[in-house]
């Protein structure tokens, strides 16, 4: 597609529920990033993939967070046993590789109640 697509756009989860957030990057983009953005804050790095390899997961807040990109294209961010502090916008970005302006999706707004 022309841009990075994320689904769902909005997700309301009850505390303790598991959620899965999907990212469809731009076709052919090697690099894929997940960021978390709290209200009024800048995005914070969660994890990075180069093709199917997860090269950096240093930003994942706890072992309840898990990300995968099994075929080097679509990626899924999974959060187990959601907590209220997980409420945020989850942004996905992709790029051809190297430096440069990553293309971000519109994000998934997760609200844990």
């Amino acid at each position: 597609g022309a841009g990075v697509s994320q689904s769902p756009r909005y997700k309301v989860a009850k505390r303790g529920q598991d959620v899965a957030l999907r990212c469809d990057p731009i076709s052919g983009h090697v690099s894929l990033f997940w960021y978390q953005q709290a209200l009024g804050q800048g995005p914070e790095f969660l994890t990075y993939f180069q093709n199917e390899a997860q090269l950096d997961k240093s930003g994942l807040p706890s072992d309840r967070f898990f990300a995968e990109r099994p075929e080097g294209s679509v990626s899924t961010l999974k959060i187990q046993r959601t907590q209220q502090e997980d409420s945020a916008v989850y942004l996905c970005a992709s790029s051809l590789g190297g430096m440069g302006g990553y293309t971000f999706g519109s994000g998934t707004r997760l609200t844990v109640v």
């Binding site: 990075v4 800048g42 990075y48 950096d56 942004l91 190297g98 302006g101």
Partner: protein
């Protein structure tokens, strides 16, 4: 520790009133400094990358400049459609992941 601080947090301008947004940074080594624009409910949209002190880039009413300690985003004769949050981000030297370190942004409101 690599760090980015943006100021002001919020800025209200009249249409046509030029101003500047500031991004101060500390970093062990800089590979690049990025500016993004973010509209409500959207992801950040890439504006510029600056690589070395003294570099300038322009796009329509926006001009970004870089020194060894800060970057400015100058907005000349802004229009209401320039209203958005402007984010600055660092790409430090080192590491293999090209992960960006973002500031908290400046919320710009341009009134007609």
């Amino acid at each position: 520790e690599d760090q980015v601080t943006q100021s002001p947090e919020a800025l209200r301008l009249q249409e046509g009133e030029s101003s500047s947004l500031n991004c101060s940074y500390t970093v062990s080594g800089l590979r690049g400094l990025f500016w993004y624009r973010q509209d409500p409910g959207k992801g950040p949209e890439f504006l510029f990358t600056l690589y070395s002190a003294g570099e300038e880039k322009e796009k329509e009413r926006l001009k970004a400049t870089l020194t060894k300690k800060e970057s400015f985003l100058h907005i000349t004769a802004p229009k209401p459609e320039d209203s958005a949050t402007y984010l600055c981000a660092l790409l430090p030297i080192g590491g293999a992941t090209n992960k960006l370190i973002f500031g908290t942004g400046t919320l710009l409101a341009v009134q007609p």
